[in-house]
Amino acid sequence: MKRIVTPGELITDKNKKVGGNVFIKDNCIYSSVLGILNESEDYVSIVPLNGPYVPEVNDAIVCIVKNVTSNGYVIDINAHNDCFFPKSLITKELRIGQMLFARVKGVDGSDITDLDNINILPVGNIIEAPSVKVPRIIGKNDSMLNVLKKYTLSNILVGRNGWIWCVSKNINLLEKAINMIILNSQKSNLTNTIEEYLKNNS
């Protein structure tokens, strides 16, 4: 049975390997966020239920050009700080509002982010989701993503930062389905339920 833990809650006083979203004090392991406990014999981590996007190296993200300056572009990556991309590294000219798909090349103290492999995306919609729910929207072996694509006849690109680029014939249904995933991410058997919902409504 999965258990929800609150910030500051004692998880264990045993010596275990730790993953994300925990902190250690006086040889005890505590949770640092509101999330679902993932504990095995020698490992502890927390899957958060909400939270800001913190860029990490090699993240594939969807981003938007926010401003053009004389020597580069200010790019909104849905993180707490914007990122700057110099004009010298890209041959094509970008416009304000253009959607991009890029890879995070480097992060400096979670403050400055460098991008790499920038691709310009065609015109489409962006659906916002909390970045912590992205693994649930993709599913195991892309199972959830394939269900969404199949029943809403859409082309979807999920960024690790929680922005989902899509071109769809039924955008309202897609948006509703994604909202359902976000609101019920802690429950099990979600893919089958979403598939049934889409089957009945498409």
Binding site: I4, T6, P7, G8, N21, V33, V132, Q186, L190
Partner: protein, 235 residues
């Protein structure tokens, strides 16, 4: 004979009823609606986000911009909506108390906006506001060392009481000590006091407040867990 009940029927160490609802504001990253007796509070948390003007930025941590405001209709006589000395002071100390709970060092050069609006006031609004703000921060998914559980304790009519309401505060010998604790570590995060008290009573009041904070913490934890039901229909 020593006093055992208060005018509203509560025991001396009894809290007013608390109800909490999380995620009430869809535009905010985290939000909390809290009713504490006749107090009604709404708290929202936004951020971390870029800070403007830039000279306010701290390169080692995020700045918490805590705004405590009372609505003009929150009290019986209209309160001017212009933030006064009291609002600014409470905002400053409550922001510092919340900073001890949130791991601000993970988000340098940013700001976390915390807005708390008192919709209806009946003594103890600053502790209700801080309790709601810490829940909103947890709801927003910010990394935290613990939750801030705040409660007032003090003296009314010669007896040590927990969670003073307006009747208790208006007695002649009233002492009102607003305390906030970082739970479950039980570290003191905020201490303010009105009235005169001797050393012995002071430590007794603090003990009473800590017991009250433990009760508040249990209610907070329950509210956070109940927001995400693990079973039931998928809507």
């Amino acid at each position: 004979m020593a006093q055992t009940k208060r005018p509203d029927g509560r025991a001396l160490d009894e809290l007013r009823p608390i109800t909490i609802k999380l995620g009430v504001n869809k535009n905010a990253d985290g939000s909390c609606f809290l009713e504490w007796g006749k107090n009604t509070v709404i708290a929202t948390v936004n951020g971390p986000k870029p800070i403007f003007p830039k000279h306010l930025a701290d390169s080692t941590k995020a700045v918490i911009d805590y705004k405590y405001r009372m609505a003009s209709f929150s009290v019986t006589e209209r309160k001017s909506p212009v933030p006064g000395k009291r609002d600014k002071e409470i905002s400053l100390v409550s922001g510092q108390a919340l900073e001890s709970a949130v791991m601000v060092e993970q988000f340098p050069n940013t700001v976390i906006d915390v807005n708390v609006l008192i919709l209806s006031a009946d003594a103890g609004t600053r502790v209700a506001a801080l309790t709601a703000a810490s829940l909103a921060a947890a709801d927003a998914g910010l990394p935290m060392r613990g939750l801030i559980s705040a409660v007032a304790a003090g003296r009314a009519d010669g007896a040590l009481v927990l969670d003073l309401d307006k009747n208790d505060e208006d007695t002649e010998d009233a002492v009102d000590m607003a305390c906030a604790f970082l739970m479950p570590q039980k570290e003191l995060a905020l201490l303010q006091m009105d009235g005169f008290v001797d050393k012995k009573d002071c430590s007794k009041i603090l003990e009473t407040a800590l017991k009250g904070a433990e009760l508040v913490y249990e209610i907070q934890k329950k509210a956070l867990v109940e927001k995400y039901p693990m079973e039931g229909d998928i809507q």
